[in-house]
């Protein structure tokens, strides 16, 4: 990301100072209007009735369940999509095979489909009237309107993030370093841990962060499969909507603020890791 920007810079510096100032101001105003202002609203509303109310909202059993559930859903779907994403990107980046472009299209499919549809397909498959519904019912298994449904919907929606970030990166890097490792006698896993993974680690981290942010924030797909059972199948975004409709503004904005904080923490972790590993990058490469 940052390389792309710095390569673009010399062109920008040839512009007249006035043009630069206008463009910069425009960007700053947009940032404030569309990013900082909503964020400020979330925190002001949450704090509008004092810290005590925030504490009450956060310690409410329903709120705790929604936080746990969101973390659980992310803890399952993000690693799963990371492993699948790396495997898919490696196949696509390294090999030519029939159906390769079809595979790329399939991976990107969740991007082009509305999240509501991504939720609905699971209802059509596993709902009581779905293809496998009666079978699951006999076995006493609950997928839709239960935690597995929330995980499935989230996995489907967040599937492309890691793969999509890694595919261009791995295509650009080419296979030469890996071929050298194999020629020098490395096994597959040795090559993977020593060559492939270190080369893609920034892209991977970036993809994982995007994937995680979406997994925690997803609304449409999980709304379809959740069943909206209070304190049972409500993830944080669903809980925000429910509290808002309960006229519980403080509660709604507290959970929304917590979601925003999670996003900010994710950013901070990314920055910290970049700094830490950047310092030692010489030793690792």
């Amino acid at each position: 990301m940052s390389e792309a920007f710095s390569q673009g810079l010399p062109v920008a510096t040839r512009e007249r100072p006035a043009t630069r100032l206008v463009l910069t101001l425009f960007t700053v105003v947009l940032l404030v209007l569309f990013l900082l202002l909503p964020l400020a609203v979330v925190f002001t509303e949450a704090l509008s009735h004092g810290l005590g109310n925030i504490w009450d909202s956060l310690t409410d059993p329903e709120a705790i369940t929604s936080i746990e559930l969101t973390l659980l859903v992310a803890a399952i779907s993000v690693p799963l999509n990371s492993v699948c994403g790396v495997a898919a990107a490696w196949c696509i980046g390294r090999f030519q095979f029939p159906g390769r472009s079809l595979l790329i299209t399939l991976i990107e499919l969740p991007f082009s489909v509305s999240p509501v549809i991504s939720g609905l397909v699971w209802v059509l498959l596993f709902g009581a009237n779905g293809w496998f519904g009666p079978m699951l019912d006999r076995a006493g298994l609950r997928i839709i309107f239960a935690v597995p449904g929330l995980v499935l919907a989230t996995v489907l929606v967040t599937f492309p993030f890691v793969a999509r970030t890694l595919i261009p990166l791995m295509q650009e890097q080419g296979a030469s370093e890996e071929e050298a490792a194999i020629t020098l006698g490395a096994g597959f896993w040795q090559m993977f841990w020593r060559v492939t993974l270190p080369n893609i680690r920034w892209g991977l981290l970036y993809g994982v962060l995007l994937c995680n942010a979406r997994a925690m924030g997803e609304f449409g797909a999980v709304a379809v499969v959740s069943g909206h059972i209070r304190g049972q199948t409500m993830t944080m975004p669903l809980q925000v909507e429910a509290l808002f409709n309960d006229y519980d503004w403080v509660g709604a904005f507290t959970i929304a603020g917590l979601l925003s904080l999670l996003a900010l923490v994710t950013l901070a972790v990314k920055a910290a890791l970049e700094y830490r590993i950047g310092e030692r990058s010489g030793a690792l490469l």
């Binding site: 059993p61 659980l72 209802v123 909206h228 209070r230 304190g231 309960d246």
Partner: protein, 338 residues
């Protein structure tokens, strides 16, 4: 790098450990799931607490009633798709009939409890902003130029269907009314509707919180609650010259309680709704109680109104097919974005 990986794994393990440890703490001796429509959130929160005490005393069992809320039609759809509701408490009989047709509930469900299985009723009123700036006093005032009317989508919301029928009832009762004049009235009315929310509470929020529109067609209980939440001076309730007796019924979902073995407590829960205690809670939450003693106690809150009933429209089965099914009256009169 190794350090970072180890701590990340540790954090994940800790997180999952916490989840496993906290989950069973919520579990009680017996749980029920009440799948309800949108504006009953506050009502059932209070009733569930009272029922838990009552059942503990009677049966010595701890009961937790879980709640799910949404547009009545959407909720019925979820139960059809396998949402494990022990009881459904929906906005209108047609949505429970849909479950009965698919065999989830016995066909005679409305005869299994008193008053057509409707423990309390409500009606449809008009909620306007402070001082009634548009001078709204009755249904025809909604057609005044520039008046924006907020009502949810009858396809997904039960309250919206009662709203629709209340307006239709008024139009049909006008001198020289014909099917054509009633249809024209509704067509003009929905011309004034800028947006259709999926549920009644969403519509109330559009009107009260987001300050959209000049009039909200609403459940009487939701209109009173909005006044309580946003301040009594913020809104005025206008009782039209004619409205509808809105009967939100309740039923045990036979297929679910038989599988879960929860029939006894589910049945007791619905019967509890008819007790003076629950009737009083209903009245406190601005529903019209069936219990005469309770109704008298809260009489000054509920003005006498001329009401049509669903029977005036031939019952829900007929009304549903004629007005709300695909190609019905609503589809004919409503064109989005116009």
């Amino acid at each position: 790098m190794r350090y970072a990986r180890l701590t990340r794994r540790g954090a994940l393990g800790g997180m999952l450990g916490t989840l496993a440890a906290t989950r069973p703490a919520i579990a009680a001796d017996v749980t029920l799931l009440n799948v309800s429509y949108d504006p009953t959130r506050e009502l059932y929160r209070a009733i569930n607490r009272a029922f838990a005490e009552d059942w503990q005393a009677k049966a010595g069992q701890r009961v937790t009633v879980n709640q799910s809320h949404g547009g009545s039609g959407a909720q019925a759809r979820a139960v059809l798709d396998g949402l494990q509701a022990d009881v459904v408490t929906l906005a209108l009989a047609a949505d429970i009939d849909a479950l009965a047709r698919r065999g989830l509930i016995a066909a005679d469900w409305q005869r299994r409890l008193p008053n057509n299985a409707t423990p309390f009723t409500s009606t449809i009123v008009l909620l306007v902003r402070k001082g009634n700036p548009q001078g709204i006093h009755d249904w025809p005032d909604l057609l005044k130029p520039g008046v924006a009317v907020i009502t949810p989508n009858p396809k997904t919301s039960g309250g919206a269907r009662w709203n629709f029928l209340a307006a239709l009832g008024w139009a049909q009762k006008q001198p020289n009314a014909t099917a054509a004049t009633a249809e024209a009235f509704l067509r003009d009315l929905f011309h004034q509707v800028p947006v259709l929310d999926t549920g009644a509470r969403g519509a109330t929020n559009s009107f009260a919180q987001r300050e959209l529109g000049d009039v909200l067609i609403a459940w009487e209980n939701d209109a009173w609650l909005a006044r309580k939440e946003f301040g009594a001076e913020a809104f005025e309730i206008v009782y039209p010259s004619l409205s509808i007796l809105a009967e939100p019924p309740v039923a045990v979902v036979d297929s679910v309680v038989d599988k879960r073995g929860s029939r006894e407590v589910a049945q007791a829960y619905l019967e509890f709704l008819y007790t003076p205690k629950a009737q009083d809670i209903a009245a406190q939450n601005y529903y019209r109680p069936r219990d005469l003693a309770v109704a008298t106690r809260y009489a000054e809150r509920y003005p006498e109104l001329k009401l049509v009933t669903i029977q005036d429209f031939g019952g829900w089965e007929t009304a549903q097919a004629a007005y709300f099914a695909d190609g019905g009256l609503f589809d004919r009169i409503y064109t989005p974005g116009k």
